[in-house]
Symmetry: C2
Subunit: 135 residues, 2 copies
Amino acid sequence: MESLNIDFEKAGGLVPAIIQDHHNGDVLMLGFMNSVSLAETQRSGEVVFFSRSRNKLWKKGESSGHVLKVREVRVDCDADALLVRVEAVGPGVCHEGYRSCFFRSLASDGAAEIVEERTFAPESVYGAQQQEKKA
Amino acid sequence: MESLNIDFEKAGGLVPAIIQDHHNGDVLMLGFMNSVSLAETQRSGEVVFFSRSRNKLWKKGESSGHVLKVREVRVDCDADALLVRVEAVGPGVCHEGYRSCFFRSLASDGAAEIVEERTFAPESVYGAQQQEKKA
């Protein structure tokens, strides 16, 4: 057991945090965390990102109720990326109505094809503003 | 089907690229790509990152032979993160000798515990310089 300093400085105070479904291994989304959001994630047991576009902490699920309950936090060899294994509450994490934000496959010519089914109607959850758009 | 522009500008020309084992869903590592490395990844069918520390393209496996064969590239809702599903050649992707770079679990007090088994001796693959250290 070692005590570890996460390398927040490599990318301006933020590290990427991969969100993975604890049950089936699906990658649900990627967000960023600063030291405060990581501490709050660990303290509360629910994922809190740092929103780059809004420049503030962003509790995932604050408006939708689709919170991410933390089952395990992993850190990579260089301590500059996090893998957060979660129990995702609700039908999906994506503000566009999908279980995962990675619902499109990208061909080599740049064409993107939707390869997942919608699991909820985003307007019924987020309203017109889509307040919880990914940062 | 839509043609998609990846948003490289949000983070200075780079997007995070999550590498996931196509067979079992394990997250193996996270790297960064610029537009050239993404194009080269798609052209060659093997993962090419952009190394932030060396400031140049970095073909994963160039010294170790542990290349990552691309099975699918996915893009997220905001087009600012990639999920690359791969067939990983060799016993592991991590320069420290593990199958995944995320071999440590992080407790809330900052203690990191190794939770995976080593799958190869890194010095036998990388030599003393560890040339292929993650960027």
